[in-house]
């Protein structure tokens, strides 16, 4: 089911958690809400669920306006960060809860519960209490419980936040595969970029209660909508330069741009560490002269610190280790730093 959020605002006291948010979540997609803490991503999820009522704006499921509907009428599945399993019920009773309160027959509940235990790979755990499960198992029980009544929309709040790194890695691949199997419209909240980009079809970036950009992982990486997104995703070197005759300039570095900026003025270029290449001579890309001041190997890459000529601010480059060792550069070497790609924002 498509979810349409139109001009939604919500504040807690004086703190505006959501400020005029517009976003559409296409039917059957897996969408991540990504943002720093306090950006409003969890509030947005809870507005979709009906756990919070927006002060302004509307929420549509398909063509149906659900802004004022109670939680129980929305047919959603919600997975809480800390699972919120019912501790006095077994795994099977937890999973069957949504069917039990809908007055399904015992036989049908048992059948559906078995199906989900199968789907979630929880074989043999049906009679355990939540306290007897590991974190990853609890999370899958929570997911099974949310999916049992066949919700139109599945909502997950930091679903892997409370798990350790290994389990988190496994579970998110598994969530992706699961979504490919069942295709329920899914929205999940995360502050972990890797998680968002690995799992989601589309990522919505939130900041200060506003949507900064919505797009596929590729779009967000390659074409960030603004400086916040660029800075938030992956981090980058930040250079203050000025605009002159259709290009951005900083010392001897000249970056052409296609944006509709004014003819002159200052502008900021964001260059990702991995988009800086070091060589002995220019290779056609925009470049600047610099000196290597530090180089450290971190696994398969070398983190190099370079000082552009005529500037005190260092820049950081990430060079594949093989390239670095074949180039023969050392600390102190003069280099030509080419910029493969940069984003310029005024």
């Amino acid at each position: 089911m498509k979810i349409d959020i139109q001009k939604v605002s919500k504040s807690f006291g004086l703190f505006p958690a959501l400020d005029d948010v517009d976003v559409t979540i296409p039917s059957g997609e897996l969408v991540a809400l990504l943002g720093p803490s306090g950006s409003g991503k969890t509030t947005l999820l809870r507005v979709i669920a009906g756990l919070e009522v927006p002060e302004r704006g509307r929420v549509f499921f398909g063509d149906l306006d659900v802004t004022q509907s109670a939680v129980r009428g929305r047919n959603i599945g919600f997975v809480f960060q800390h699972y919120a399993l019912f501790p006095h019920m077994t795994v099977a009773q937890n999973i069957g809860f949504g069917l039990r309160v809908r007055k399904y027959k015992k036989k049908d509940i048992a059948k559906r519960t078995d199906e989900l235990i199968e789907l979630m790979q929880l074989h043999g755990l049906g009679n355990r209490l939540p306290a007897e499960l590991s974190g990853g198992q609890r999370q899958r029980v929570a997911l099974a419980r949310a999916l049992a009544p066949n919700p139109a929309v599945l909502l997950l709040d930091e679903p892997f936040g409370a798990l350790d790194a290994r389990v988190r890695q496994d579970l998110r691949r598994w969530l992706r595969r699961l979504h490919d199997q069942i295709h329920v419209t899914t929205v999940f909240v995360t502050h972990d970029q890797e998680e968002a980009f690995e799992v989601a079809d589309r990522v919505a970036i939130l900041n200060d209660g506003r949507i900064e950009q919505v797009g596929s992982p590729d779009e967000i990486f390659d074409d960030p909508a603004n400086a916040f997104v660029m800075d938030f995703i992956g981090g980058a070197n930040v250079l203050q330069g000025h605009l002159e005759s259709g290009a951005w300039r900083f010392n001897d570095l000249v970056l052409p741009h296609h944006k509709d900026f004014g003819a002159t003025g200052s502008a900021t270029a964001y260059i990702r560490n991995k988009d800086i290449r070091l060589s002995c001579a220019p290779n056609g890309s925009p470049f600047f002269h610099a000196t290597v001041t530090d180089a450290r190997r971190v696994g398969l890459v070398v983190h190099a610190t370079i000082h552009p000529q005529g500037s005190a601010e260092p820049l950081f480059a990430e060079i594949p280790h093989d390239d670095w060792s074949s180039s023969g550069f050392k600390v102190g070497s003069p280099v030509v730093a080419s910029v493969k790609r940069a984003q310029i924002f005024q």
Binding site: A49, L51, A70, V71, R72, N75, I76, G77, F78, F80, H82, Y83, A84, L85, F86, P87, H88, F97, G98, R100, V101, R102, Q121, L129, P130, A131, L133, S134, G135, G136, Q137, R138, R140, R145, A146, P149, A162, L163, D164, R166, V167, D170, L171, W174
Partner: protein, 287 residues
């Protein structure tokens, strides 16, 4: 084992400390208890049973039972409502309510009794109206019930508030997102998750209601066979030098205390078994 010993006291001081504890327990608890039973059975089993079967004793048991049977359900209801509103909602004056719940603990029971005499007694402003309508509260059963309820009302709320606070609202919200009605949420999720806390609070409340002396003493008027509760009856018998009868009735109160302790231990054990999951360490698991 060796590691444990290296961080604990020397053997001599352990024996010494344990001995102090045992002697103290013996002097203030075990010897007095033994004496109660010894005195109770001084006139033999027949004397003991005779004391219990006395019409005045039976009447005291009846009055106590009625007081408990009304006070405990009232306080369960009140305690639940108070704990619910305090833990699930934010509102002004919440702190004040939390403090007010403790008033019966803070005020001497005798004062509590006096308050009700001042409120409902013959000389109070409600007094004339009550006597015009033939309602007797002070020196009658209603007074005893009201005083008992007042003195015991913090128990259930005090037990439930921390339990509900620890659990938070997530499980209940989860129930709502799964399609439960508010009543289903309460019956299937809220109530089971606090049931041992509720049970324990009720047991403490009942034990206190049975044993309440001060407040009830003020409002009851000590009318034998009518408004005497068990503790009041013990006092009357004692003051009249019927020692073995007084102690025989006292053994009933001790019995109730022992049952309370047993129920408390059970409740704590059961609660530990279903403690909220997030407190347990997360184990590594393959999904």
């Amino acid at each position: 084992m060796t590691q444990k010993r290296s961080v604990s006291e020397s053997k001599a001081s352990r024996v010494f400390l344990t001995a102090i504890a045992l002697v103290f327990l013996g002097v203030v608890l075990i010897i007095p208890l033994a004496l109660v039973f010894h005195t109770a059975f001084r006139d033999g089993l027949e004397g003991y049973l005779g004391a219990l079967a006395d019409p005045d004793t039976l009447s005291a048991i009846r009055v106590t039972c009625i007081a408990v049977a009304i006070a405990v359900p009232c306080n369960i209801l009140f305690g639940f409502a108070a704990a619910w509103s305090i833990t699930k909602f934010e509102f002004r004056g919440k702190r004040l309510i939390v403090s007010l719940i403790d008033v019966p603990f803070a005020v001497s029971p005798v004062i509590s009794g006096m308050i009700f005499v001042l409120l409902f007694g013959a000389d109070s402003f409600l007094g004339p109206w009550l006597s015009d309508h033939g309602i007797r509260i002070i020196f009658a059963l209603p007074g005893i019930v009201i005083a008992t309820t007042f003195v015991t009302f913090p128990f259930v709320a005090r037990e439930l508030i921390p339990v509900m606070q620890m659990q938070g609202a997530e499980q209940e919200l989860a129930a709502l997102t799964l399609g439960a009605s508010p009543w289903q949420m309460f019956r299937l999720v809220t109530l089971p998750s606090v049931k041992w806390g509720l049970f324990y609070g009720s047991i403490l409340c009942a034990a206190r209601a049975v044993g309440e002396f001060g407040a009830v003493s003020v409002v009851s008027g000590h009318i034998r066979g009518e408004t005497n509760t068990l503790p009041l009856h013990v006092e009357v018998l004692y003051n009249e030098y019927h020692f073995s009868c007084a102690f025989a009735v006292a053994t009933l109160l001790i019995l109730i205390a022992v049952l309370t302790l047993g129920a408390k231990a059970t409740a704590e054990l059961m609660e530990r078994r279903t403690r909220p999951q997030r407190e347990l360490p997360l184990k590594e698991a393959k999904p």
